[in-house]
């Protein structure tokens, strides 16, 4: 028996219809769809308003993607493992406000590194609590994280504080101001590319490496694909679950700290209500709420797309009142497109 015997059975590619081929390609390249939409959006906007083509716009979109992007990376990992998290914004708010408050009242001179580490640790802890609760209650992650969202935010505003404050630690202000790149445009506008963007890049690389180059990463996908089989093959599902929520929490904590550094103020009401939009961005990037799918590249493309759409409406003269409807339409389109892909691709 030779290899050729089985080839036709695996997939008779030449005879595929164009639809099937597109669907196949999308499945193999999850970032393809959001990237294509991204390119299309840029071209359309650029055609309407040639001013769109400037470095500053790129910087703006990238900068505005940092917090949402960190959230999205966490959501991706949770979705890949077959869960769902809507508590990350509450975790971020709780961590950023508490850490900033404690540091600025007790050790205002603290450097940025310990502050970032505190954010990571605090977030991871709260995230792990989500995971433990989900294991313990055997309840859907969505429901449990709705509950913890209420609990975290309620705790923050009841026991920690409600006041916005501007006198954040100097190291945080300074860190938010560091520019990787600074340029004065022809119009005399200084354009800065903030250094904290590198932290997002780093987080993306680490998440990518984790998902693709550790056993844990494979366990995450295994868990999202067929948890009972993964368990039978020796993956510790409960531990994977705690891990993914801890990871999402950790990235949320980090996002919170960066949010404060870049805004130069700590507001406990910030970030609330961003949950569903972040999930939408991750889904736009090719992850499925049914679990087991999704890539870092796709997720970043999804976040960039949503941020871009959010940011360019003014430039093409669409009234800002249209923003919500446009984003909603994008999400519906993406949902329908992926439903079609899943139905059409070979071997389903």
């Amino acid at each position: 028996m030779s290899d050729t015997d089985l080839q036709p059975a695996i997939a008779d590619r030449p005879s595929l219809s164009p639809g099937k081929r597109i669907a196949d390609w999308i499945l193999a390249n999850p970032a393809g769809f959001p990237l294509a939409l991204l390119a299309l959006t840029c071209l359309v906007v650029g055609a309407i308003n040639p001013d769109f083509w400037q470095l500053a716009n790129l910087f703006d979109v990238l900068r505005a993607s940092v917090v949402e992007g960190l959230f999205a990376l966490g959501v991706l990992v949770v979705l890949a493992a077959g869960g769902l998290d809507v508590s990350f914004s509450a975790i971020a708010a709780l961590v950023m406000y508490t850490v900033t408050l404690i540091v600025s009242t007790l050790v205002p001179g603290l450097g940025i590194l310990p502050i970032l580490l505190a954010g990571l640790a605090g977030g991871a802890l709260l995230g792990a609590l989500n995971g433990v609760l989900i294991n313990l209650l055997k309840a859907p992650a969505l429901i449990v994280t709705i509950a913890t969202q209420y609990a975290f935010r309620g705790f923050l505003l009841t026991f920690v504080g409600t006041a916005l404050f501007m006198n954040i630690p100097a190291s945080m202000t300074a860190f938010g101001q560091i520019a990787l790149f600074s340029q004065v445009s022809a119009d005399g506008l200084r354009v800065q590319f903030p250094a904290y963007f590198l932290i997002f890049v780093l987080a993306a690389i680490v998440t990518w490496a984790l998902l693709n180059h550790t056993l844990l990463g494979r366990a995450v996908y295994a868990c999202g694909g067929k948890p009972e089989i993964a368990a039978r093959l020796g993956f510790n599902i409960a531990r994977v679950r705690v891990f993914v929520f801890a990871w999402a929490g950790m990235l949320a904590g980090l996002a919170g700290i960066l949010h404060v550094t870049s805004n130069r103020l700590a507001n406990p009401f910030d970030l609330a209500g961003t949950e569903l939009a972040v999930i939408a961005a991750v889904v736009l990037g090719g992850a499925r709420v049914t679990g087991g799918k999704g890539t870092v590249g796709g997720t970043i493309a999804g976040v960039l797309l949503i941020t871009l759409v959010d940011n360019v409406l003014i430039q093409v003269g669409i009234p800002s009142t249209w923003r919500t409807a446009v984003v909603g339409a994008f999400i519906l389109l993406a949902g329908m497109f992926y439903a079609w892909v899943d139905r059409t691709a070979v071997g389903r």
Binding site: L84, L133, L136, L137, K138, A139, P140, L142, I143, V144, I146, A147, T148, Q149, Y150, A151, F152, R153, G154, F155, L156, L157, T158, T162, G273, L276, I279, A280, V283, R288, V289, T290, T321, W322, R323, T324, A325, V326, V327, G328, A329, I331, L332, G335, M336, Y338, A339, W340, D342, R343
Partner: protein, 334 residues
């Protein structure tokens, strides 16, 4: 069904309701139990109760079903009804006719939005959480575009205001309507073919399809009903606040889910009781009003809701395992 008219969940919810009433009666005194306050609290239940019933239906249908678009659709429905009719002065209608027309229009928009959800979920096959997230933004967006973002003020329309606020036989008409809708829904679920098949579909979608259930149409029906409830909620909101705005009740998305889960609706599908949803909604209302009486901040209430939800989840798990071990043992080897 026999044996389940009084289940643990229901007993628990009744107990919680009574406990809050008792605690409030003891600590803040008679004012809490005065007819006026009871009536006032009752009049706050319908809008969120209707939305929670929509969420419950989506959850019963199984496969992680959920409806996130409820409040967005309710606001859109009210806004559309108002924009079509115009202020009462311009419409030249009598109060009652205006109320009826407003109600029908709002209901119609709700139904339409629900059908859109149903088609996207049932026929295009988009996961309900993504589909209703998309339509939530879309409905909200349309409402913003239609109104330019500003509130639409109805002004004082006595018929509409009475609908939400003037007690008839102890409760305002909107509460009676809510109870009637709840009873109708309970009847639909328990005693009609579609309703009973819905529970079966939620329990095992594949088996339902294999047994010839038209699962797609059933899904359309579910989201259509949910949309209709949103439309009715739109009327109640308009009547209660004399105005409509695109972002009214932004907290309702999660509160509706909270109510459904506290009512023991199983998020994995196949189980849920209307009476429990009503009781769960009243429990949250009682707690919320009680906290307002105590002048506790709303943050404490949020914290309490979150913890309460976790407690209910823990409670339902414990209850379930107990059910299995006691239900099986006595009967084996009869």
């Amino acid at each position: 069904m026999r044996g389940r008219s009084l289940d643990i969940q229901m007993v628990g919810l009744i107990a919680v309701n009574l406990a809050i009433l008792a605690a409030a009666g003891l600590t803040v005194g008679e004012r809490f139990l005065s007819p006026f306050n009871l009536q006032s609290m009752a009049s706050q239940v319908p809008e969120i109760g209707l939305l929670a019933m929509g969420v419950m239906l989506a959850m019963i249908a199984g496969r992680g079903g959920i409806d996130l678009s409820g409040i967005a659709l309710a606001n859109l429905a009210g806004i559309c009804a108002f924009l079509i009719l115009g202020p009462i002065a311009d419409s030249g209608m009598s109060g009652q006719v205006y109320l009826l027309a407003f109600g029908l229009l709002s209901l119609g928009v709700g139904l339409l939005g629900g059908v859109v959800n149903g088609l996207i979920i049932g026929f295009v096959g988009v996961t309900s959480i993504i589909a209703t997230l998309g339509t939530q933004l879309l409905f909200t967006g349309i409402a913003v575009i239609l109104t330019g973002g500003s509130a639409q003020t109805l002004g004082y329309v006595p018929a509409l205001d009475d609908f939400a606020n003037s007690p008839v036989l102890g409760l305002s008409p909107s509460v009676w309507m809510f109870l009637a809708v709840a009873a109708g829904l309970a009847l639909w679920l328990r005693a009609t073919k579609s309703g009973r098949l819905l529970f079966l579909m939620g329990s095992n979608h594949t088996a339902a399809r294999f047994a010839g259930v038209r699962t797609r149409w059933l899904l359309v029906q579910v989201y259509m009903l949910s949309g209709a409830f949103a439309g009715l909620a739109g009327v109640v909101i308009a009547a209660r606040t004399s105005s409509m705005k695109w972002d009214y009740g932004s907290s309702y998305v999660l509160v509706a889910i909270l109510i459904a889960v506290m009512a023991g609706v199983r998020p994995e599908g196949g189980y849920g009781r209307v009476i429990c949803v009503v009781l769960s909604a009243t429990a949250l209302q009682l707690l919320s009003s009680y906290f307002n009486f105590l002048a506790l901040s709303n943050f404490v209430r949020d914290l309490a809701w979150g913890v309460l939800l976790l407690v209910f989840l823990a409670f339902s798990r414990a209850d379930l395992s107990a059910y299995w071990s006691t239900a099986i043992r006595p009967r084996s080897k009869a």
